[in-house]
């Protein structure tokens, strides 16, 4: 592998990065625009951020989104982890292939279909739409993402660890709680974070299943944009990007440090051994 910069490499990087991030950069820049017009630069200002925190409707929507995301991510993590366990551990039960397929189908199913089918279900059973239905809908589609993430970790999990725990006096449940769970915890946390972000930015499924008084932030943003983009929206989006970027950055730094530490430890152990 050569690490040299060639014209080809540089061009690819510029085009790739530009394609990915140019829109976001523009959005961030215009959130600091003095003018009300989104497309005309009129000097630097943070006034839209101030306006944002006085916009009750937007804050309400943010609060609903946060609660939906926290609740749905947590429940989806529990359910998704259980599904992953069932899929990796009990490899012989009848209909396993069907079950696997059914767990993973929502990954590729269009959001519109998931949203519509849930709406039909809620209508059919006479369930009042609102906060609860959005949360349930989010649990439904994000638990399969959790299942995928956790399952990929469980495949490489040495089951004799659990047996060793039982051998040393743990009931099967204790063995899971004290040994398996701590070992697969990083994957469970990633699963939770994935479910959380999926819920944060979902528009389609939430739109189908929301009711009066339960508007999520993406829904609010979308409805406002239809009346014209305001720099306020840019400000909200910038804050959202900031939160997500910080999270990703912290996660990757922590992960990298742990890897480096682990390598050092192993080298040391090998030398002493």
């Amino acid at each position: 592998m050569s690490g040299r910069w060639t014209w080809f490499n540089i061009t690819s990087v510029i085009f790739g990065m530009g394609f990915l991030y140019l829109p976001i950069v523009i959005l961030i820049v215009f959130s600091f625009n003095e003018s009300r017009l989104v497309t005309v630069w009129a000097g630097f200002s943070t006034k839209w951020y101030g306006a944002l925190f006085r916009n009750e409707a937007l804050l309400d929507a943010a609060w609903v989104t946060l609660r939906v995301a926290l609740l749905s991510a947590s429940v989806a993590t529990v359910l998704g982890t259980l599904a992953a366990l069932a899929l990796t551990r009990y490899t012989r039960f009848p209909g396993r292939t069907l079950f696997t397929g059914m767990v993973f189908a929502p990954l590729v199913m269009p959001d519109v279909i998931i949203g519509l089918s849930l709406l039909l279900l809620f209508v059919a059973i006479g369930f009042d739409r609102g906060f609860l239905t959005i949360t349930l809908a989010h649990i439904t589609f994000s638990m399969c993402f959790v299942a995928v993430v956790v399952q990929s970790r469980l495949v490489s999990f040495d089951e004799s660890l659990e047996e060793a725990a039982q051998d040393l006096g743990c009931t099967p449940f204790h063995a899971f709680y004290k040994v398996t769970l701590p070992v697969i915890l990083p994957a469970v946390i990633s699963g939770w974070m994935l479910a959380f972000t999926l819920s944060l930015d979902d528009l389609v499924i939430a739109s189908f299943n929301s009711g009066p008084g339960a508007t999520t932030l993406p829904m609010k943003i979308y409805s406002q944009v239809r009346l014209g983009v305001t720099p306020e929206i840019n400000a909200v989006c910038t804050i959202l990007i900031g939160i997500v970027a910080t999270g990703v950055l912290i996660a990757s730094i922590v992960g990298r440090r742990r890897d480096i530490q682990r390598k050092l430890d192993e080298q040391q152990a090998a030398q002493e051994g």
Binding site: S160, L161, E163, A164, L168, D265, A269
Partner: protein
């Protein structure tokens, strides 16, 4: 009286018909789907015994161990531990601990916490736990490493942590699944003796699974040689080596030459075989009566074969050509192609540093052995 090697002095409960076995497998069969891993097997193991289950992979030895630990249940038959049936007893309720082949150390816990894990489950009080952990760390010489995590240890150290963890609860029975498989040769030999000392010191019963015959020979009081779910032979290391009762066992333990022949004469404890393998006839000392004309096999170890340039006076002799020489340091192994075409192995001990005119390649020499050097087998 002639004896087949030495066993641990005055320890041979299996000889005494009055002694009660500590573990008893009674007609145990284990099936996985259509595959029979263990086939109608009965086996007694005694208290304080160092017992090896030896066989190639897939012979059912690990399944046997896992049934003792409770991770598998017999399809048929029953297992008794100290007179109690183990039917329906969950792994966490068995007074048995196991050392896993992969060591199965808990990666999120330090060495100390790993060792203390079982003690905490047993609800021992804190000071007792820390005393016991210290004791165990000392036993396996890892005091300095108490705070380390498993990934900060070398292979040999991990193996010792696994051992300490599995004996920390003072189980009466310790199961070891290929405990030394991952260690290099030198460390393995050292650890073999450490394990034997530990077993003596703590007065435990050890049941160990291994595919390494040297390991089984070195450590065990008795060995069960297994193949395809059945026990072929149980005996002390000397018994299975010197008096194998089938060609399978003779071949699995150590190296062996097997000659085939028909019984020509059988009188006064001496059997004469008609042998086509380059010997005019083979004589073997054997009390057992065989029928004239019966087809038999004579198994004889390479170190019981003599190599000479002159025709020897031994009863069984054949001439051949030196085909291969492997100098191992302590012994030299020869492969000789007999005039009949059969390849035989012979080894000589190098008791002198320098030998004048040693036997070399392509020499025509005589291979011979005493009538009591081998074992006659009918299967």
């Amino acid at each position: 009286m002639k004896s087949l090697g030495n066993v641990r002095r005055s320890f041979a409960p299996w000889i005494d018909p009055k002694s009660v076995p500590y573990i008893r497998f009674e007609n145990v069969t284990k099936k996985f789907g259509d595959f029979t891993a263990v086939d109608n097997l009965s086996l007694d193991i005694f208290e304080r015994e160092f017992f090896s289950l030896l066989g190639p992979s897939g012979c059912g030895k690990t399944t046997l161990l896992r049934m003792l630990a409770g991770f598998e249940n017999p399809t048929e038959g029953d297992i008794f531990l100290d007179g109690q049936s183990l039917k329906g007893v969950a792994p966490h309720n068995r007074p048995v601990n196991m050392m896993f082949q992969s060591y199965a150390l808990f990666p999120h816990m330090s060495v100390e916490q790993n060792i203390a894990f079982g003690l905490k489950q047993a609800k021992m009080n804190k000071s007792e736990i820390s005393d016991r952990v210290q004791q165990m760390l000392k036993l396996v010489k890892l005091e300095k490493f108490a705070k380390r995590k498993p990934h900060q240890l070398s292979g040999g150290q991990r193996q010792r942590v696994a051992l300490a963890r599995s004996v920390a609860k003072r189980p009466k029975l310790l199961l070891l699944d290929e405990p030394l498989g991952a260690l290099d040769k030198k460390l393995r030999e050292e650890t073999q003796f450490e394990l034997m000392d530990l077993q003596q010191e703590l007065g435990l019963t050890f049941v160990i699974v291994t595919h390494d015959q040297d390991e089984a020979m070195t450590m065990s009081d008795r060995i069960a040689v297994m193949d395809a779910g059945v026990v072929k032979q149980i005996g002390t290391p000397a018994e299975v080596y010197e008096a194998p009762d089938s060609r399978y066992v003779a071949d699995f333990i150590g190296s062996v030459n097997i000659f085939e022949g028909e019984v020509k004469q059988n009188a006064d404890g001496l059997v004469k075989l008609d042998s086509p393998d380059g010997f005019s006839e083979i004589q073997a000392v054997e009390d057992h009566k065989f029928e004239t004309g019966q087809k038999l096999f004579l198994a004889i170890r390479p170190e019981k074969m003599n190599l000479t340039r002159e025709r020897p006076t031994d009863a069984n002799a054949a001439s051949g050509e030196v085909w291969e020489i492997a100098y191992m340091g302590d012994v030299t192994n020869y492969i000789v192609k007999l005039d009949g075409g059969k390849m035989v192995r012979a080894s000589t001990i190098n008791r002198k540093r320098a030998v004048e005119n040693p036997i070399g390649y392509d020499e025509v020499i005589w291979v011979s052995f005493e009538p009591d050097g081998g074992t006659l087998l009918d299967r």
